[in-house]
């Protein structure tokens, strides 16, 4: 089953209790933040805390990312030095604008990996695009490193860069979302949407999740565990979808067993994209703990 990234839960890197509990809510990934949620006065303490937490806590096998400070700030390099050693799944790069940003991070990680005798490529990268320039360069960013497992959009900085604000419909994000999504798909990596900050507006949140699901995003960054269930619910396929997907997969297996390149179901031809979509639907169903057997 492909790694699902329906929900990537933000956790402030300066809150030990929240880091400790982050894995219990059922998010597909958690992202511990050393950047915007940590004040300049707490950068050192948070870095140390996150390092120790990663070394100590059992996150129950959930994918853990750490958002570091950009390398052009006084904190970025130290963050890499500490976090690579603590070995999360990936480092999330904020404010990525060019392929060079990714390459620089890749090289730094390689250097640290070598220094400590860690296997090359252990630490993955996840890039976040948060500006017009970044969105335009998304295609290059997405293929800049083999470490890159996904690309995300960070809307708050992005709309500021665009000199606008966020609207409920998200029209101002449409182009950037599409560019990032295309880039991710072209590179074969994940595409994750931005956070929705009004945690009490469940209806608005659900409507945005439906939109990004329809656009094709793998999932969404979220800031409160209460949002997890809403995302998962929307991403959970319907019974009819599951049934149909099962039949498609069965038909494809049958065709494969027969050595036939042509798959047919109910008298209709089934082509490869349909099989792929069916597979994703079954993956999502399984993640939602629906018995597809």
């Amino acid at each position: 089953m492909q790694k699902l990234r329906r929900t990537m839960l933000y956790v402030p890197g300066n809150n030990p209790g929240m880091i400790r509990d982050a894995h219990i809510y059922g998010a597909d990934s958690i992202m511990i933040d050393l950047e915007d949620s940590v004040s300049l006065y707490e950068k050192d303490a948070a870095r140390l805390l996150v390092y120790q937490a990663l070394k100590t806590f059992d996150f129950g096998g959930i994918e853990v990312l750490v958002r570091v400070n950009p390398l052009n700030t006084p904190y970025g390099r130290d963050d890499f030095e500490a976090i690579v050693r603590a070995q999360p799944t990936a480092i999330r790069l904020p404010k990525t604008e060019t392929a060079d940003d990714v390459i620089e991070a890749d090289e730094l990680i390689t250097e640290i990996e070598q220094k400590i005798g860690m296997e090359h490529g252990t630490i993955k990268l996840f890039a976040a695009v948060e500006s017009g320039k970044g969105a335009l360069n998304a295609a290059q960013i997405a293929v800049a490193s083999k470490r890159l497992i996904g690309i995300a959009i960070g809307a708050e900085d992005f709309v500021t860069d665009l000199k606008t604000t966020r609207s409920p419909e998200g029209i101002e994000l449409l182009t950037a979302r599409s560019l990032i999504l295309f880039a991710a798909r072209a590179a074969g990596i994940a595409a994750v949407d931005t956070v929705y900050s009004d945690v009490n507006n469940e209806e608005g949140f659900a409507s945005e999740v439906k939109l990004i699901k329809q656009l094709g995003f793998d999932g969404k960054s979220i800031i409160n565990p209460r949002q997890i269930e809403i995302v998962n619910r929307i991403y959970t396929p319907t019974e009819a979808e599951i049934k149909k997907s099962k039949r498609i997969i069965e038909a494809s297996l049958e065709a494969e067993a027969k050595g036939s390149g042509v798959i047919s179901l109910d008298g209709k031809m089934i082509d490869r994209p349909i099989v792929e979509r069916a597979r994703r639907i079954l993956d999502l169903a399984e993640a939602a703990k629906i018995n597809v057997e």
Binding site: G17, R20, D21, I24, Y25, T56, F57, D58, N200, N224, P225, R226, K289
Partner: protein, 519 residues
């Protein structure tokens, strides 16, 4: 002989004892009273109203060494207890046993009354704040006795805890003592809803004084306490502050961890085998317990299941389910919020019940024994499933026994909800500091990181496993927590016993010792 009605009546009839001929001069009030309307209202010569608290206390004959009682329906907004105690102290009466149904922060002035000898000892269900600290730090000679709600009712009804005078605040009362926690004729300013704990005191105390700030016309119906049980009525300006009496509304928690625990608890109920049409439930007023109701609602709607009754402290959430038709009847021993108070007034199947009806173990059909599912919280639980809800992790008293052990024993499934780690403390210990509820009556522990089933309940375990719930042994859950926060240092105690915990049958299940200070 010729009786008062002019009939020949024998003075003795074989087989019948105690023949008393009718006497028209009998003074039991049978004379036609043409002024009755006035009498029913506020005629001092006829009604039970006393001019002052002092006169009421005098009239009860209260003297040194007696036992007095109060209820806690006004919670932290209670003006009655301190008011009465100050008056008693002023009158020089001493050496009393105070048998309140529960005590809280607002009752801090009791510290002085115990110190000065006005109160010799206290029996209660719970205590908090300064008074609790005073006990925990060993200031007083005689330990506080902690009863469960059912245990207190049993002790009073059985005569084990005889109450000489009960001082009971009532948000509405008429001149003859019909008293209630709400009013059907006006907006009672101190409305508290059910008077379930006071009802026991009224029934069994030798003298009953109702104190009210809302004298209403006779007869005050519906009533929790009938005039037949009331000796005196005192009218005062205010009996309580509604801000402290009810919290306005017990809102659903937004705390994601409590929501997660609640969801797990609802899953446990669904898979317990008791989630069938007509089941009964009790949930507390804590965040996770309240939220359990919400998740349960979705399951009830999905499965078309209705509950026959909900018991205990009634909350807005329970009232909502009742009004939605998902819970047929409410048995209310204490109303936790304004919605519950209002519901008691307007919903005909919202019934107030006494603590004895609620949970007395000697009342074989008590409502707690009819419960299918109860969701209870815990400060600590141990590997034997014993639960502590009275002493904090520092050993200081800060809670109440309440109906915890009563409902755990009575319900077919007792579910304890607790975060696996609270702050920096694990919720599961090798041994709880104080046992309120014995482990053999606790069936399931639900935490944010999994559930544990009491090995005595293999029947439940099978169902939970089939439902793919995250089942662990309690040792495994403890290990999960201690891996992160370690094992807490044991609390250091002095030898002195400062609290005696009684189980619902009156037996002593544990003691609380003085907390060692200055470590």
């Amino acid at each position: 002989m010729l009786n008062g009605a002019g009939r020949e009546i024998p003075l003795a009839i074989e087989g019948l004892d105690g023949i008393t001929p009718f006497d028209r001069k009998s003074t039991y009030g049978q004379f036609k009273n043409t002024e009755r309307l006035k009498d029913r209202q506020q005629n001092p010569a006829k009604n039970k109203i006393m001019d002052s608290m002092e006169k009421a206390i005098e009239a009860t004959g209260l003297r040194n060494g007696m036992t007095i009682s109060f209820h806690h329906h006004f919670r932290n907004g209670d003006f009655i207890l301190n008011m009465v105690m100050d008056q008693i102290a002023k009158m020089g009466i001493r050496d009393l046993v105070l048998a309140a149904s529960s005590l809280t922060d607002i009752h801090a002035p009791l510290v002085e009354h115990v110190r000065n000898g006005v109160i010799r000892r206290i029996e209660t269900s719970g205590l908090r704040g300064e008074l609790a600290q005073a006990y925990s730090y060993g200031w007083f000679d005689i330990p506080v006795t902690i009863n469960s709600h059912g245990g207190r009712a049993r002790a009073i009804a059985s005569g084990e805890c005889p109450i000489d005078v009960a001082f009971l605040g009532a948000p509405s009362c008429d001149a003859y003592g019909n008293a209630n926690g709400t009013s059907s004729v006006n907006e009672a300013p101190s409305a508290c809803g059910s008077l379930g704990y006071a009802m026991v005191d009224a029934q069994y105390a030798r003298n009953v004084v109702i104190i009210t700030d809302n004298l209403v016309s006779y007869p005050n119906t519906p009533f929790a306490i009938p005039e037949t049980q009331v000796d005196y009525v005192v009218v005062v300006d205010r009996i309580g502050d509604q801000k402290g009496i009810v919290s306005g509304a017990t809102r659903y928690t937004k705390n994601p961890k409590e929501l997660l625990i609640a969801k797990n608890a609802a899953d446990v109920i669904e898979a317990s085998g008791y989630f069938v049409d007509g089941f009964s439930l009790q949930t507390g007023s804590g965040g996770a317990a309240l939220a359990t109701t919400r998740f349960l609602r979705e399951k009830m709607l999905a499965a078309n299941i209705k509950a026959s009754f909900a018991l205990g402290g009634i909350t807005q959430q329970i009232v909502d389910l009742h009004e939605e038709g998902l819970i047929e009847k409410l048995l209310d021993v204490q109303s936790f919020d304004l919605r519950a108070v209002e519901s008691l007034r307007k919903n005909k199947f919202h019934q107030q019940i006494s603590a004895e009806y609620y949970a007395s173990p000697e009342n074989i059909g008590c409502a707690a024994h009819q419960l299918d599912v109860v969701v209870l919280s815990a400060l600590e639980i141990d590997l034997n499933f014993n639960v502590n809800v009275i002493t904090g992790s520092d050993g200081v008293i800060r809670g109440a026994s309440g109906g915890h052990c009563d409902t755990a024993a009575g319900a077919a499934v007792s579910i304890i909800v607790a975060p696996l780690i609270r702050g920096r403390m694990p919720a599961i210990l090798d041994r709880v500091n104080t046992i309120i509820t014995p482990g053999h009556t606790v069936d399931v522990l639900v935490t944010d990181q999994g559930i544990a089933v009491n090995p005595l309940r293999q029947d439940l375990l099978a169902g939970f496993k089939a439902a793919k719930l995250p089942v662990f042994t309690i040792e495994e859950l403890q290990e999960k927590a201690t891996r992160i926060v370690g094992k807490p240092e044991p609390i250091q105690w002095e030898d002195k016993i400062v609290g005696v915990i009684k189980y619902r049958d009156g037996s002593v299940i544990d003691v609380i010792r003085q907390v060692k200070q200055g470590r």
